[in-house]
């Protein structure tokens, strides 16, 4: 990402600048603690239960909030009768759009402002009223007892019909929200230059967010000061949005994050529930806990929008891509939410191609608004592009790995001025991956196997990607405090969303300061006590925070060197910080242990402040990846078994081998969900309501659906330009090419191009029957 890229994880929150970083150190040539497979610093707390998640918060006098939601995908609230509910046992407050507390309070769906309780409900699950009661059950029962008269309106649930004449209008201005085009070169020329042109239409399903910890918060007022414990990816994003909604000074809102049980983009910002919980707490004068039920989260905490993509590609016999014409459409839901955002990015930028035209249509339907979902747009785009590359390779008789290698760009073609990447590890990912996977040998083996009789056919597939962001950047401020005993407090605003951020930061500080990571205590994700950070998302937390931690350590060391110079009676500039000692460079026997420095002992502590410096000007920092997999298909039943999976990633320096590999495995599992099992099912033709709002009907892959043989391979290129740690983002590329690699493997196994995800046994059986009939 270059500094002028607009990126989704900053949407809707004001982002301040940070002071310039001073004395940013040189790139590490060698590290001793960074890169090691160290267990997480909070592993014990997580497994023993001492880690407190927002769901665990129990405050004295706390009561419970429940939201009543529209059961209709499109309706207008005509009347709400709370008389009966109000009389029920334990009920302390009911808020509707008519309540004084809710008057004038608005909510922003991106650039669209609506009343918090909007009588015009545009999706199933939109808020209608809220109750606070002594117990969750009492609040739930009371919410059910609220009587609502709805005027039921016509709805549109199928995004492919949203622009049809006569389709119900989600918003007055019509259902076309946004249309974006991009062009470079001359697409006609590119197609004319091609020896072969292929065209195909691809579909990906809508995936629903379903992180383990439910969305929600606890809100507590102390006079005019509001404290919120929210399951969130970014406490500052929550603070900003709630301050705006409630018109409060930022200083009066304290948001605590600490532990949180998964977000994947759905917790980059708070929800209406956060405002409602705060209002209920204010009205009752009690702390209120409001956690959504699983059914509610399926309706209203966001999704990866479904997409329809048409891709026309031209290629020369030698494998030179000459043209890519890409059209996509996807639904934001009932409000602007980026329904087709970034879907075309890979078509624009992954492969060297002079003539590219893309267009994206974002449409409205009567369903829950989208939210960023791990690598927004990219897995969808990869589903189309990576299958197309595979098809082109087959047609021109070139190996699919080879064809990709042939078209690797060294510059970002889709950005103005075509800036180069600091590093492009795509070649290494493909080459080293193919070697590790034994691509060529397996190919031969599979051809022999598939020629034989029998209904179990095998296939291997490959998919590649880059991720548009992943370079991180300012703002970030980190404070390191060393106590006189040498133990350390690390203070940062960023959330650890389960990826191991805290562990990596402890490693960075330990690397610089010569201490054991275990003596580092991390204070983070609290708007009152830590510094501003953008939400943890976009695969940018490590590349943003790690260089800042390093800068803070350098600042701390400088302060210590100045103090030690007094003890050793030499010039500070002649001192070096080595391990846990400060050594005189002119006579290395002259040294002092850091904890023996007199002034440190007199003061009791010393502080270092680090700021995140800028990314390299005019260069792009993006991670790259390639995934390889092998599958076996039972052609009688349509069942698919994934035999093995290999994720090869260029994310610069590996900061911690364990957290790195875990990201890769987790991303592959999520990609398998997109490729094989997950799909939001709306009752499109009858009621528009969601059919599968539980963990049984919404099919996440289980442990038995993912292969035991999962391997993570790191292509560790030195990237001294990206930042002073050399780390690029990882959390998103890990799930981008996964589903496409599976589809390619399934093509080899069956001869069927599965253009529509998910590829369930149902889809396999359907397609194989079709093929048989010819």
């Amino acid at each position: 990402m270059t500094s002028n890229d607009k990126i989704y994880y900053r949407e809707g929150i004001p982002v301040p600048e940070t002071p310039a970083a001073e004395n940013s150190p040189d790139f590490w040539k060698k590290t001793t603690i960074v890169g090691k497979a160290l267990p997480r610093v909070d592993a014990y707390d997580r497994v023993s239960g001492t880690a407190l998640f927002p769901s665990d918060i129990l405050l004295p006098n706390m009561i419970y909030g429940v939201i009543l939601r529209s059961p209709h995908p499109h309706a207008r609230v005509k009347r709400i009768d709370i008389a009966e509910a109000q009389k029920m046992q334990g009920v302390r407050a009911i808020i509707t759009g008519e309540s004084a507390e809710a008057k004038g309070i608005t909510w922003q769906y991106r650039d669209q402002q609506v009343p918090l309780f909007d009588p015009h409900c545009r999706f199933e699950g939109e808020v209608v009223a809220a109750v606070a009661a002594d117990t969750w059950y009492q609040a739930s029962d009371a919410a059910r007892a609220i009587k609502v008269d709805y005027e039921i309106l016509a709805f549109v649930a199928d995004y492919e019909k949203a622009l049809d004449e006569g389709a119900a209008r989600v918003q007055d201005k019509g259902n076309l929200l946004n249309e974006e085009t991009y062009e470079r070169g001359d697409i006609k020329k590119g197609l004319a230059q091609a020896d072969l042109v292929l065209e195909e239409t691809y579909h990906t399903p809508c995936e629903l967010h379903t992180p383990l910890e439910l969305h929600g918060c606890v809100a507590n007022w102390e006079r005019d000061r509001l404290t919120i414990w929210e399951s969130s990816q970014g406490v500052y994003a929550v603070q900003a949005k709630i301050a705006q909604a409630l018109a409060l000074p930022l200083s009066k809102i304290r948001v605590k994050g600490h532990y949180m049980g998964g977000g994947f983009g759905s917790k980059l910002s708070p929800g209406k529930y956060t405002v409602i919980c705060s209002l209920l707490a204010k009205k009752t004068g009690r702390p209120v806990k409001l956690l959504l039920s699983r059914e509610e989260t399926y309706l209203c905490v966001g999704n990866r929008p479904a997409t329809t993509m048409r891709l026309k590609a031209g290629i020369k016999k030698d494998g030179t891509l000459t043209a890519l014409e890409f059209e996509c459409s996807g639904p934001s839901g009932a409000y602007p939410a980026g329904g087709a955002q970034l879907v075309d990015w890979l078509a624009r930028d992954l492969y060297q191609c002079d003539h590219v035209r893309t267009s994206s249509k974002d449409v409205l339907i009567n369903a829950g608004p989208a939210r960023p979902f791990r690598a927004p747009g990219h897995p969808q785009g990869a589903w189309a592009l990576e299958q197309m590359i595979d098809a082109l390779a087959a047609e021109i008789g070139m190996d699919p790995v080879e064809l990709r290698l042939k078209n690797i760009p060294l510059r970002s073609q889709a950005r103005a001025e075509n800036p180069p990447y600091t590093t492009t590890g795509l070649r290494q990912c493909l080459e080293e991956g193919a070697k590790e996977f034994k691509w060529q040998a397996t190919l031969k083996e599979i051809r022999n196997h598939n020629r034989k009789e029998g209904h179990r056919k095998r296939g291997i597939g490959v998919g590649a990607c880059l991720w548009i962001a992943g370079g991180g950047g300012p703002p970030s401020t980190v404070i390191l405090k060393m106590y006189k005993d040498g133990s350390i407090n690390l203070n940062m605003g960023a959330s650890d969303i389960g990826t191991g951020t805290k562990t990596v930061m402890a490693q960075v500080a330990a690397e610089e300061l010569g201490v054991n990571p275990q003596v580092i205590q991390i204070e983070h994700a609290d708007t009152a006590t830590t510094q501003f950070a953008t939400p943890s998302g976009g695969s940018k937390t490590v590349p943003t925070e790690a260089p800042t931690v390093r800068n803070a350590a350098i600042s701390l060391k400088r302060a210590l060197l100045a103090m030690a110079a007094e003890d050793l009676e030499v010039a500070m500039e002649e001192l070096e910080y080595v391990g846990d000692e400060i050594v005189w460079s002119k006579d290395r026997t002259k040294k002092i242990k850091v904890t023996d420095v007199s002034r440190l002992n007199r003061r009791g502590e010393v502080i270092g402040v680090g700021y995140r410096g800028p990314n390299p000007a005019d260069k792009v920092v993006n991670p790259f990846a390639a995934h390889f997999c092998e599958v076996e298909v039972n052609t009688l039943t349509g069942e698919i078994e994934i035999l093995r999976f290999l994720g090869v990633h260029d994310s610069g320096r590996v900061m911690n081998r364990l957290t790195f590999d875990n990201q890769v495995y987790g991303g592959i599992v999520m990609g398998i969900g997109l490729g094989l099992t997950e799909c939001r099912q709306l009752d499109e033709s009858q009621t528009g309501k969601l059919c599968n709002k539980n963990w049984h009907d919404y099919k996440l892959p289980t442990a038995l659906d993912v292969p035991q043989a999962m391997t993570s391979l790191a292509v560790e290129l030195d990237d001294p330009e990206c930042n002073n740690t050399g780390a690029k983002g990882l959390g998103e590329p890990v799930t981008i090419p996964t589903a496409a690699a599976l589809a390619n493997a399934l093509y080899m196994a069956t001869g069927v191009r599965f253009t529509r995800a998910p590829i369930s046994p149902m889809a396999v059986t359907r397609e194989l029957s079709k093929k048989k009939k010819g």
Binding site: H455, L636, E639, D683, R766
Partner: protein, 329 residues
């Protein structure tokens, strides 16, 4: 959220029957299906009668003649792991092992598995469907990819969720019931009700009747049993297409055949057509293919589940191939 209800846990079977005579009472055994039904407000239950304290309802015993008696409260995992079951009817052990997920198998019971409420996302969701007293089956014209291809008569089109029932039907098992008017025995094959017979009933059990145990006749010599389940994901899922086989072999010849499909009909679906093809024949590739074709010949797929016809045929063909290779067990 669960509705408000009272809860009793008698330790005598007769007391349980008495409690169940209360209006809007329901049996709580393992609770794995019940709690979901309550949360989804499928049943308007005011009294839960837990039978989990009634010791005599658990356990697996050999009975005179070599059959088995399985208490209704025996957990699904106990059945999957039991040596007697595995030796005598490997297909039943397999069926039990294919149920849901490890946690649900540890908690769910055989009686409960037979009496599961229909699995249909309309029935389980906020849709006032025919089976809940409404006036239409939403699945008939709606999203019906997981639904029935047999026996639905375009009335109510869910497919029966049990993995143990098809095997028990194939084995000719009986359920033994105690109710206010005493004991009775029902063939598992007669336990479930087709929509055409009564769209509001899942089983023939009457109010306050409790399944106490299941008996399975002794395995014939050279009995081969199996259960196969094809599903959209490999754990915690119901059958898209499945089959229980009980074949009595006489050398290479099938002397007697029972083929019962799961995931295909609102009740465990005996495939008489396939049985007829197999009976008296050698398990040749031609016969297997013919039997598999016969099994789906009368299928009435809906708009979204035509794939089930091919899947069911393919699955059955593969299962018969295995039977042919496995010989008599």
């Amino acid at each position: 959220m669960l509705p408000t209800f009272s809860y009793v846990r008698p330790d005598k079977l007769e007391q349980a029957v008495k409690h169940l005579e209360t209006e809007r009472a329901a049996i709580h055994a393992g609770g794995t299906d019940l709690l979901g039904c309550l949360r989804e407000r499928i049943m308007d239950t005011r009294l839960l009668v837990s039978i989990s304290g009634i010791k005599e309802l658990s356990g697996i015993k050999e009975i005179a003649g070599g059959g088995l008696r399985i208490g209704a409260l025996t957990t699904i995992s106990a059945i999957a792991e039991n040596k007697l079951v595995r030796d005598k009817y490997p297909g039943l052990a397999r069926g039990a092992a294919e149920v849901a997920s490890p946690q649900l198998r540890n908690q769910g019971t055989l009686g409960g598995n037979l009496c599961q409420k229909p699995r249909c996302w309309y029935y389980r969701g906020e849709f006032h469907c025919l089976r809940k007293g409404g006036n239409r089956c939403f699945a008939l014209k709606g999203e019906n990819q997981f639904h029935a291809i047999f026996g639905h008569d375009n009335i109510c089109v869910f497919s029966h969720p049990s993995d143990t029932a098809p095997v028990l039907v194939a084995l000719g098992a009986d359920v033994h019931v105690l109710g206010p008017s005493g004991k009775r025995t029902i063939a598992v094959a007669d336990l479930h009700v087709l929509p055409a017979d009564d769209v509001l009933a899942d089983t023939v059990l009457k109010q306050a009747e409790i399944i106490t145990h299941i008996t399975i006749p002794a395995p014939a010599r050279h009995l081969y049993t199996s259960y196969r389940k094809v599903r959209a994901r490999r754990s915690w899922d119901f059958a898209l297409a499945g089959a229980a086989l009980a074949l009595v072999m006489d050398g290479p010849r099938v002397a007697r055949a029972k083929v019962v499909l799961s995931g295909c009909a609102p009740v465990p679906w005996p495939s008489i057509a396939a049985e007829q093809v197999l009976t008296g024949r050698n398990l040749t590739p031609e016969i297997m293919a013919k039997a598999a074709r016969a099994a789906v010949a009368a299928a009435k797929p809906l708009a979204g589940n035509e794939y089930k016809v091919a899947m069911c045929r393919g699955m059955l063909e593969e299962e018969l191939q295995k039977a042919g290779q496995g010989g008599s067990r």
